[in-house]
Amino acid sequence: MRTPLFALCALAVAALVFFALRLIGNEYYFVAGYTIVQYIVLATAWNILGGYTGYVNFGSAAFFAVGAYSSVALITFANSIDDLLPESVAPLAHSIFPLPLGVMVVIGGLVSGVVGYGMGYLTLRLRGAFFAIATLALAVVLQTLVVNWDFVGGSSGAYVIRPDSVPLVGSYVQYLFILMLLMAVVAVTIARTIEHSKLGYGFAAIRDDELAAEASGVPTLQLKLIATALSGALMGMAGAPFPYFIGFLQPQSAFGLEYAVNSIAMPMIGGTMSWVGPLIGAILLGTVQQVANVTISSAVNLLIVGLLLIGFVIVAPNGIVGLVQDWTRARRKP
């Protein structure tokens, strides 16, 4: 299926989901749905680097938080224009700020992409293990920086006032949901396009045997940087609307453990070899967690995710998609 057609189908599915929820009418479903769709973006983004290229990112929370905090910085700046800028420039600034959320999403993506690129540049020349460790440490360091940066609220957090309503759509949460759906369509389309492209072959070669890939002419460092930057950018985009969604952003929430583990668990449980895996993983695990958060405690919920991750990694390394493929292959044999 050609990419434009796929994108259209994905948009159609997204529209269907949105209007179905509208029909149900309960605002809670939009809130829960936002989180699940957010995970579709995060899981898909993670998989571009982790599943396709084989480089594990343990610090997904870092990129997500970079997106969230770049929004907070822009919002705080918009609110403090009169304090920060000289009078000559202030009116101009007022006409530009506050930026529309769509623009902030793009900016969040850009900043995260740059962070990803920078970190990759420093660590990707070495083995995948070093990169993985560096991503863990990056999360800690970025959190430290944010905690010390009073402009975005530091450790005490930042309040973000959510607009009451949005023209055409009505509720702001529904608007955020649409935005996230669009991002999911973008992420999944990008992932699928890469998979079938020359770039995807290059990624796969790097994952399977980086040395042989180099010897075959694949510019491994360049491709890995592309993967890291793209993955980071998508995660940052997912994080950009988060301050509006949550209303009060503390570093603990933005850098929360659930982002790190879910970004890894969802693709690995769903299946890392294709764009379908993270999608399935995010929807399944995301839904289970939303239910569990309400019925059991959120800590037990995370425990289950962790155990599932370990279990799948040992028993079903190609995830649910892999299991389905094995099952259909077994049935096809006489």
Partner: protein, 289 residues
Amino acid sequence: MDFPLLINAIIAGLLIGGFYAAVTAGISISFGMLDIVNIAHPAFIILGSYIAYIVNIKLGIDPIIVSIIMLPAFYLLGDVIYRVYYQSFEKRGAESLRGLAFFFGVLFVTEVVLILTFGVDYRYVEAPYIGPALSFSFVDLPLRILVPFIVSLVLFGALQLLVSRTFTGRAIMAVSQDQLALRLMAVDPIRIKRIAFGCSIATAAVAGALLIIIQPVEPSVGREYIGRVFAICVLGGLGSLPGTLIAALLIGVVESITSTFYGPSWAPAVSFGFLLLTLAFRPSGLLGR
């Protein structure tokens, strides 16, 4: 420049650095020598802290004694985990991605189980040397850091002896360099790796007890140490125990000075900075192989 402050910062840094060396010793073995990226190691350390805490609170036994009693249990834990790891990943030659994800899962599950069992409140132990400090003119040596420092050096010395003097120890060094030669000597490299990994986790028992002596502990403290531990390991040169000690002392001192003069909230950034710089400019570390 406030010299007494600087001197105290340096000394505190050296003492803490010694402790960091004990924390990193396990990773030196598992990552440096066996090439296993056990990022769950800090979780085992925290586990050791909590065990020391429970026994200390219930039975009043000194945490260091507790950790020594727990050595065989932790060794066994390491043995079991290596078996699972070997069967599931190493043997199949699977990509390191899965091994990493496995250990991440273990790290995660351990932390969550601790949260469920003990909650997120800080826990601390009681011992006679927590509180008092030795003082020489302007130099303060808090015993709660000095005693772990001494124990760390003993642990380190024991490891170094093990690795250089015993047959098993030298086999561990050998297995990281040439498995085939080891087989030709009728030594099973898998068994050696299992022993080494067991020792690696056993060190976590001691490190955990020392940690909770130095500072109050809650489940997420482990994650702070991941960056630190790997930074020290890489800076010191993978597989070099003496290198690890030097790197640990160095990082301890720099962290301490940063903390004293710029505020403690910047300390976690120090080890990462070191890690990045080392990886970018001298990945073989100070005393690398």
